[in-house]
Symmetry: C2
Subunit: 437 residues, 2 copies
């Protein structure tokens, strides 16, 4: 460092100021004074930090290697978007939502501080009423915990109930993100085959502590679980002291037939945790979902939500509560059900008309996608077809990507949440072309 | 069920319709036909569900007993609110925020589908620039992962690095929620005493894998960690192959003295994960924070965020990005710094003037609270004083509630984030009255 007198002159400040500054730097260890020689900047790094430091850097636990890197295709736009599991964001009632959300960002709104981990009281009540009316699920406001979507609901439940090494059963094929989550928690995953009636309850291994299942609308295949199978599953959980996560992710959109009862209504022993999502009925980017838990888990689930991230953003919760209470949610669902019904019908007709020689459609009348099994192509061949389709501007998914341990199915998943009715024909025609050699 | 002919007449529908309905009920197991006798509703529950079911209900893991129930006082309003850790929600720039957030809820905005787990690219970049300029932290956009506040950042880091049974060191006294989170993950908590220079690095037990620390502004006591101690901590982590979580939760609000360097800038071996929050600079109810991780952890942390809850709400992230880029964030911080500086000064003067016989204030010039140690009262006596104060409309916290294992300190924490300057005098006068026997 320059001599104090020189620096004082250069900066036009008093020498006392410079001396005070040097003293402070010395006091804090940034500089040292060498008698008769001057003030020197300390060489802090790496000499002092790294005296006998190891050069190895931090490593994630090995368990994270089992969580595959995210496919970039999840976020890349596509000309014809048939990816399943996303609603039509163009038809979201933005104006109403802006108005309701804006009301919560005012000085007189209550959302200034931290909120209750279990959620906004008005939203918990509105959810309980909604699923009671729409799904016949039994819930009071205090049974509901608001989460950041289904994924966090599964996380909280698994953390509250299970320890590393415990066994969890999932559907095979089945929805991948919860399976990856459960694996990352060190749980042992038992993939259970499904048939046309749902998960094969008889082959769930003894000692399984938790079953994750989507009875209202199997993902990705589409069928609903038969009543017999649902009764068998709840009975199995009772006999085995196990828990069931019922993921009811999109059954608001049913186009024919009678809605099936949630497992939760068959559960007389508090074994079923019902999980719902606003990702399909509203927008996934809101990250809003909920769980309905048996009373015995309520305190622990609240604690789990609290330690995980305190609570879900308050203003979003408050706006969603008003959206439901004011009837806008029911209206939006009605409107979207008719939009998706038309698309469902168009996709189904097109598949039956033009894909009859290559695909067998699996019957389903719920939700935002259809699955179809390849008549001759292998799973690998379907994967190649999907890659070719993407190059041709058409995004869809191979059934094989949902294999949970068993042999990958050769087939395809066609979502119609995000594609306009007028574009379905051209998109599927392009997809059909990719099947030709 | 009534005979089909009778029901058909009662409902004025054709008998064929009723027969079809009965057949369906029978097919789905809700009813049975007994030959020559009629159709009967099945007794589904509990008889079939509960054939040999156990009556025990689901139980949380024992580990959750260690997470204490949340004190209702966290959410109850108080006439004079001196609780630490909350900003002034009345002074939040609501109009600007409504405008920016409203822009994201439009059909042409990009936030319709799922977002990237690591966060909105614009926000990651804005955060990297902000902490570089404001805190001297070294980060590129790709080092930043957006989280639902500090609490989730700690959760992700712990899940990526540690398994149940691993040892974690925390400050004693120290901020409770991360400690509870770490305990809920089955980690062994080593409480490390702090002195005026911060955590006593020398007593961190061998084998500790992670240290959670708030070097810029100790919570709740207030001092910053000395440079010597910071260098010692980073050196210790290097020698022991351990990780450090640096929680830099409110150092934007510094009223005098020079800002201390983050530990992250002393770290030459990728041992420090820097964690920041918008809960104090913006609103806690937004649930917005971030972490800056060494490169070796990036993929696993993204995967952890993905399996935990996919991503933080997109529109909030996009609005926050614009809020920073447009300079509104820096302006809001400047404004609030001057507001809080005045309150800090008022509280300090009042404590020194009227509490000199009962409290010794711990010097601190950062953040939204001050701590003071009782001169004579015991920790139990201070707890009683705090209870009396609450009855008199004054909410503050006893230091003892932050004990992490060692003897609880007798003292008090006075926050001034949520109380207007004009009300500080009366509130503290009332609090002073509660000290008199």
């Amino acid at each position: 460092l320059p001599p104090t007198r020189e620096l004082a002159a250069r900066l036009s400040v008093s020498r006392t100021t410079v001396i005070a500054a040097y003293d402070r730097l010395i006091g804090e260890g940034f500089a040292t004074a060498r008698l008769g020689s001057g003030t020197y900047v300390e060489n802090l790094a790496p000499a002092r930090v790294d005296a006998d430091g190891r050069r190895t850097s931090l490593r994630p636990r090995r368990i994270w290697r089992a969580v595959p890197p995210l496919p970039a295709s999840l976020w890349s736009p596509a000309e014809f978007d048939f990816r399943p599991g996303v609603p039509d964001a163009q038809l979201f009632p933005y104006a109403a939502w802006r108005r309701l959300l804006g009301r919560e960002f005012r000085p007189q709104s209550a959302g200034g501080g931290y909120g209750h981990p279990a959620g906004h009281p008005g939203l918990r009540d509105a959810i309980a009423r909604h699923i009671g009316a729409a799904r016949g699920a039994r819930a009071a406001a205090e049974d509901v915990i608001v989460t950041n979507g289904t994924q966090q609901a599964v996380d909280l439940i698994a953390r509250v109930l299970l320890a590393a090494g415990d066994r969890v059963a999932v559907e095979d094929p089945g929805y991948a993100p919860p399976r990856r989550l459960l694996a990352s928690l060190g749980l042992r995953i038992a993939p259970i085959p499904v048939d046309g009636e749902g998960m094969l309850v008889d082959v769930i291994p003894a000692g399984t502590r938790l079953v994750y299942v989507s009875p209202s609308h199997h993902f990705p295949l589409g069928p609903s679980m038969s009543l017999q199978r649902r009764i068998a599953l709840v009975g199995w959980a009772n006999r085995n002291g196990a828990a069931i996560i019922e993921d009811d992710y999109d059954s608001e959109f049913r186009y024919s037939g009678r809605p099936i009862e949630p497992l939760q209504t068959l559960d007389t022993h508090g074994r079923v945790i019902y999980v719902g999502s606003f990702s399909k009925t509203m927008l996934p980017s809101l990250r809003l979902g909920f769980l309905v838990a048996p009373r015995s888990l309520r305190v622990a689930l609240e604690a789990a939500k609290y330690v995980t991230d305190w609570h879900t953003p308050l203003q979003t919760q408050a706006a969603m509560a008003r959206f439901i209470v004011d009837g806008l949610f029911a209206r939006h669902i009605r409107r979207m059900r008719s939009v998706y019904r038309q698309r469902h019908q168009l996709v189904l007709e097109h598949l039956e008309r033009s894909f009859g020689d290559v695909l067998d459609v699996i019957p389903s009348s719920v939700g935002l996608h259809l699955a179809a099994v390849a008549r001759r192509a292998t799973a690998d061949q379907v994967r190649s077809i999907v890659v070719r389709a993407l190059a041709a501007g058409v995004a869809c998914q191979p059934l094989s990507m949902y294999a949970a341990g068993g042999a990958p199915l050769a087939g395809i998943v066609i979502g119609y949440g995000a594609i306009e009715a007028e574009r379905i024909g051209e998109g599927l025609t392009r997809l059909r072309d990719c099947f030709e050699p």
